[in-house]
Symmetry: D2
């Protein structure tokens, strides 16, 4: 059993923690959280062991009547691997601690690529991550792009990809930092292209992005010039067969992200998460060597399976396919269709 | 076992259907749905028996490859009670059918009060609904107000209540009929006061309402003149003890409806539903005979327990307390605290 | 003097009517409006002559105490040219009336292209519209694309254009039909490409679109493959010199559409309109033969100058350049910079 | 002529500056602004003299090619009165400077009440502000409440007022700090009641507030217990006669704030401002001694006339009525109807 600790119990951390508890080969030792809020209290009531970052927070947790088991240092003593899901920039600082203790760690996409020896997307480069001490699971947008572009590129080599990202401005649990009645571009080429190249080294891609006032899903408009003429039906078949990608149709009533949100509630997964890329069948359009499609990315959930596979990779579990199968079956992830 | 059918598989219907499957004394015979969309297909894959409203829809369901078991008429033959959760106005038409077949039926709050012999909120008037043929479960806003005002009125008689409702404009699964960057008042006294009086006959209440561009939760600002001076602490105690009402604190990080949505996801209930009134502790303010408070109402979920109790009431199950206890335990409804 | 009537006094009609009053060679005979609402009453107080579509509306206008001068038929008797700005589909019906009376008419982009002999964007095809009886001014999105693509194509021939449109869901004065917390794609290739080809016949373009919950501005992400390598600086110079296109910089604080809205208020134009394409300097990115840029389109205002030029074109005013200069100076339209 | 300087050229400052230029008895000496952005550049092009807060900003303004006339110190030398419209908290610091130079100053409602000798609403307490050195114009919400409650209280004494404020979360020119799909209550009694008592000393009022994801207008739901029974018609007459209050009807098509925004654009005032309280006729409801009504407050504009009157008051202009008449006619402010 791989003994795993999760540092940071926010959007990513809490999901990774729950996913770990569903793996046959892992045990969740505990999680580190700063604030003894409702999510801590519910976690405690579910049996999760909480640790605090440092001693100064003892009073706050005691006042809140929230049980904790020690500090980050205490947690580290019991773990083989840490998943660090702290806010941007903190991971790089924590890396020093993990390094000094010789603990392996998985970082998130908000951190600088240098935080890990490899930037990781399971179905792209699992093997290159084997046995490394530090990995970085790339961001939700990059993960979503890597999956679909890698799948296509392997069968239909890509000459150039142009991607326009329509990004949700804040997550549904945030009540600050939003925008209202406003489109806010990220000027210049968006950072997503560079980030993607940490995973798909040789891809010729340019990305642009805007933030919009929604809280659910990033939407990607992807235009790809292939080296050969492509047939729409072949692409549909390819995507339907690709891991962690689902093709959906507006004919089933799924013609907007409001409907995708409702789909997620019908599916009944924890926190109404969707781990798969959601490609709209209706959006797939081929013209000569050009291929166009739109996909929606559940920004809170999509990197969770990657984190689980990353834990196995750093632990020396050599069989990528078996790891991904374990992950997918434990989380009910599908690669063909939901229904 | 009470054999129940659900007519209409939208926001309310699908939730009632699932809740029925969790009752020890009920069986879900089937549901009637018009469109063979994603929610039908997921329902089918979960073993729900679907029926179509009439023969003309046979082709659409066959084309979609969605299995159905017959028409509304077929379903009615097998049922003791129907929960009619069709869009506003359809229920009144369906009533004629139910009447001709001698089947009991529960209607929703969108229908005219005359559709039922009693307008129903379980903890207010269960007894008066016993054995009736037709009940009407009142709307989400009315249910939420009835619970909290009834609880207070019984202990601290109310002289006058003034309620301002800040209503979500559309449900999260709707992608039409919304408003953007806009507040839309319902002019005149809102209908909620009159509707509430179908349940709490003698209450002196006036209500006003606006629609705002959000999809989650109605928020009620309630100001009550009591007949006697009241103590804030007593009201908190009362509400904490009242059924299907939970008092929450911003000290736990629950200071907005975005956080309440996140709470619902942490709780892990189906479709992240919250069946309870959510009263903000921080909003409870007493000054002399005046009491003020704010509550959030999960508009999709709050009437689900009432529908379940209504099924028992029309079926002649005489013990209101036992019915509510059965309902609450089957749906993990709490009346004190979530954590 | 060209005697002009405006049929329809909504978003477009009221703006065209005001613009006509500022032309040295036109007179606004009157406008046709259905409802005697606040905008009619303000228009009346400003001296605009209102006409009603037909006699049945006499009572409504009398009850509202709103003065009118007759019906559509009465207005037509006094006009040389009609600008028809009625809701989609009505224009095609009205065309029969205009035809029977031998009156020239300008229709809007919501109508089928067949409604006009030419689909019109002044700086692209003024000459081809000369003396025609019926023109169609294309939609806001198409007008915005035609201006910028035509300007580029003339200097730097375009091999292929890929455009992604992020569309405001409703106008700021609408309080229905919106979406909330939702992205709604227009599936398949969006109609904008086909519409653009009614103006720029030979352009190789594909367009895709989503609707988002904002009320101000469409945002266009444009990627263009040119026949030759291009230099960013040259494109900036070209766009800065092009008519009805303004290049803006986030360095001046204009980094989102919220800031563009504020800019429009600072400029002090009527109804805070912006008639120009707004291209973000920061978004202009050249790589080899590829050119990428983002522009914001004020969806209510951008077609107003085109309507004015269209009136002159059908009236036989042969000098396109003089017409556009007259239009631009009368409306304070700039082609270089606002400040 | 009163020589006035404006310190801070944001939402309030730029509006006050423009309003000053329209007064027959005032001259705008100049404005202080930190950033040489689009609004500065447009202001410069309109002939406004800009000053910078301190020498460190010289480079930024020079780089931007934006002309300035000196620093705050230079401006102060030329002024009799300063309107300080700096962000919350800065005004209190600037007060020391104004005091040392013996300059009179008007502060805004974001500052602590102590910043001024009097908290000011022109039609309530102009006289008490006469000749003072420091005034504080209260916030938009407080100004809007003071006007309407004072008008009512003078004719129909108020026993108790309960106000629920539905507040726009951010201004339309902000692209940060917003909320999305969220209602965020201000817990406890909102500060507006206390603030109102700095103007209407003896009023018995309690206020509650939520923030919602809109950018235009605060909406106030006001419930008032009067000492005597009141007649709805009398209240309508009273409000229609009251200064800076306009009664609007949904019968004219003004049934939401989206329509009020459109109204503001039709009116054609600078920056589509509305200086008047907008009371919905349809919302006025009287029952016995209780009176209920809803009003919309244009949060950016409503305090502008108060600032102008405040300038006269500190300058010793003794005739309140004449001051308000001057202000209103210069800004086209109406007290009866717009059309």
């Amino acid at each position: 059993m791989i003994r795993v600790g999760v540092v940071g119990y926010g959007t990513i951390g809490k999901r990774v923690a729950n996913a770990i508890t569903k793996q046959p080969d892992m045990v969740l030792v505990g999680v580190v959280k700063r604030s003894p809020d409702y999510s801590a209290k519910i976690g405690i009531s579910r049996g999760i062991r909480f640790f605090i970052p440092h001693e100064e927070l003892v009073d706050a947790w005691n006042r809140a009547g929230a049980r904790y088991y020690g500090t980050l240092d205490d947690l580290l003593q019991e773990c083989d691997v840490i998943v660090d899901a702290t806010p941007k920039g903190i991971g790089m600082k924590n890396r020093v601690i993990y390094e000094s203790k010789g603990i392996k760690a998985i970082f998130q996409g908000g951190e600088h690529p240098n935080v890990g020896e490899v930037s990781f997307v399971a179905q792209v480069n699992y093997e290159s991550a084997l046995g490394k001490q530090f990995l970085r699971v790339v961001s939700c947008n990059t993960t979503g792009l890597a999956r679909v572009l890698h799948a296509i590129n392997q069968q239909y080599p890509i000459e150039k990809a142009i991607v326009f990202l329509v990004r949700r401005a804040i997550d549904p649990n945030q009540d600050t930092n939003g925008i209202i009645d406003c489109v806010a571009p990220s000027f210049g080429v968006s950072h997503h292209a560079e980030d993607l190249k940490t995973v798909l080294k040789d891809i010729n891609i340019v990305t642009f992005a805007v933030r919009i006032p929604v809280t659910h899903f990033h939407v990607h408009m992807i235009s790809i010039k292939l080296k050969e003429t492509v047939d729409r039906r072949e692409i549909i078949d390819l995507l339907e067969e690709s891991r962690r990608i689902v093709v959906l149709s507006s004919r089933d009533g799924l013609g907007s992200t409001a409907k995708l949100l409702d789909l997620s509630r019908e599916l009944g997964r924890p926190r109404f998460d969707i781990y798969e890329n959601l490609v709209w069948l209706d959006s797939i359009y081929a013209e000569g060597k050009w291929l166009h499609l739109m996909q929606a990315i559940h920004q809170e959930a999509i990197v969770i399976p990657e984190n689980i596979d990353a834990i196995r990779a750093v632990s020396g579990f050599t069989d990528a396919l078996t790891s991904m199968n374990l992950t997918d079956s434990s989380l009910s992830i599908v690669s063909t269709r939901f229904y």
